[in-house]
């Protein structure tokens, strides 16, 4: 028999369904971090992230039969459950407190006019600003940024988690990143210049 640590997720799930407690703990230790961080990056609340992570694995214990390997990996399934639970909780508790636009603009992470924008700010401040900007994104863009950029999962997996097409993930990511850049860029005079620059783009 393959050791638990070498077994893939599906095998561990099968063993867990057969009553193997160690399979559950192995699976949990392997996947809890990603789920926890995903939720935390989505909502910024440690308590909520812990709750949702626990609920995800309770769902797995109680309703593991709902997982269909044909529809995607177990990790995608778990993150998808986490996402749905999180959105439910947020909707129910109205947890969202969107950051003010001004706040994000007052603490820019970088200025694209500089060659090395992050030099302008301390690293901590920059990260804090970036985190705030991500939290302030609309949900549909935030989740793809979190999944693809922070969790670094593939477009295909993100599509499985979100239940949408890969093209949708790509376009949302593109839009989400553009919004992030806009939020992190100080409100400035160069809007006019950027508009002018747009018109001078070369269309070869």
């Amino acid at each position: 028999m393959i050791p638990h640590t070498d077994a893939n997720d599906t095998e561990l799930l099968q063993r867990m369904l057969a009553g193997d407690e160690e399979a559950l703990t192995t699976l949990y230790r392997r996947r809890q971090g990603g789920i926890y961080r995903f939720v935390m990056q989505m909502c910024g609340s440690r308590v909520l992230a812990e709750d949702v992570t626990q609920e995800v694995f309770i769902v797995l214990i109680r309703d593991a039969q709902t997982f269909d390997p044909a529809r995607g990996s177990l990790n995608s399934f778990l993150v998808g459950v986490a996402r749905n639970l999180l959105l439910q909780r947020l909707r129910r508790e109205r947890f969202y407190a969107p950051l003010e636009e001004d706040e994000a603009e007052q603490t820019p992470i970088y200025n694209s006019a500089n060659v090395e924008p992050l030099e302008d700010l301390s690293r901590t401040e920059a990260i804090a600003s970036l985190r705030a900007a991500v939290s302030a994104l609309p949900t549909r863009y935030r989740e793809v940024v979190v999944l693809c950029d922070l969790q670094e999962i593939s477009y295909v997996e993100a599509a499985e988690v979100l239940g949408c097409a890969v093209g949708t993930v790509r376009s949302r990511l593109h839009r989400g990143r553009a919004l992030l850049i806009e939020k992190l860029r100080p409100a400035r005079k160069e809007q006019a210049t950027s508009a002018a620059a747009k018109s001078t783009r070369c269309f070869a």
Binding site: G19, E21, M40, I61, L78, Q88
Partner: protein, 274 residues
């Protein structure tokens, strides 16, 4: 490559995603020749760098051990492979199924069932109401609702067969005050009165009769006390008072009727004969 094409792939380029080597070279070449796209590329690279730093910083974040312990306890409390219903009403949520669509469908189903139930109830009520009004509608639409005087005159001119019968008609208290709906209700009551129906003994086999209709001042239950049935003729419009539909074209024709006269000499019920 132009700026539009560059814009499409700038994300993947900045994120070091796998792409065609030729496209990559062309994009990089374009970013060196176009200042706007170069700035755009730098922005994307900076953002990617910042996001990766953020991801690395959060890599250390993990759940407390108490969660694992509680999950193991939960697992132990269940038999292997057993699928129990959740005690707190928790609904399983499949991945990629949208945002809690399962619970939405449950709520939507319940709401749809309620709506269908209300519609059916309203429909049944409407049909019943329509049936009730349909019975009395000819009277209402005739526009010639007979007045007590008219009825009395017609009764007089009709030269009733017996005094008893005549008396029974004349002694009716404000017979026209019965609204069509009340008459219809009375008619239904008469149809359900088995005792009265059992009195249909005088009608020849070829005759078609209505059920006995209790007359307002009488009591249909008194038929047990005895009495007799008397055949007489009445103007057709007299039928309207008892909630029986009347054909306007034959309004003045005469119609046969059987009147059940009680032992006390009062008319108890009436039925019409064709």
């Amino acid at each position: 490559m132009n700026c539009q094409s560059f814009e499409i792939i700038v994300n993947d380029l900045a994120r070091d995603q796998i792409m065609d080597a030729t496209v990559r070279e062309q994009a990089l070449l374009h970013s060196t020749s176009c200042e706007t796209c170069a700035v755009r590329f730098r922005d994307e690279q900076t953002l990617t760098h910042g996001l990766r730093e953020l991801a690395v910083l959060m890599q250390a974040e993990t759940t407390p051990e108490s969660i694992e312990a509680s999950l193991v306890a939960e697992f132990r409390s269940r038999r292997p492979g057993q699928r129990a219903s959740s005690p707190n009403g928790f609904l399983p949520i499949a991945a990629g199924g949208g945002e809690s669509r399962g619970s939405y469908w449950v709520y939507a189903g319940v709401a749809a069932a309620l709506v269908v139930g209300v519609v059916i109830a309203l429909g049944v009520t409407a049909v019943r109401f329509r049936n009730a009004t349909a019975v009395s509608e000819p009277v209402e639409s005739s526009g010639k609702t007979p007045s007590p005087d008219n009825v009395a005159n017609h009764t007089d001119s009709a030269a009733p067969v017996t005094a008893t019968v005549r008396g029974s008609v004349e002694n009716q208290e404000n017979p026209v005050e019965h609204t069509p709906r009340r008459n219809a209700k009375r008619l239904r009551v008469a149809k359900n009165t088995v005792t009265v129906q059992s009195l249909n003994i005088m009608a020849p086999d070829l005759e078609v009769t209505t059920d006995f209709i209790p007359i307002a001042f009488g009591n249909a239950s008194n038929v047990q006390e005895g009495g007799q049935v008397v055949r007489l003729e009445l103007p057709r419009y007299a039928m309207a008072r008892f909630g029986v539909p009347v054909n306007e074209e034959r309004y003045d024709e005469r119609v046969k009727a059987d009147v059940w006269v009680g032992a006390d000499g009062f008319a108890r019920a009436i039925r019409f004969v064709q």
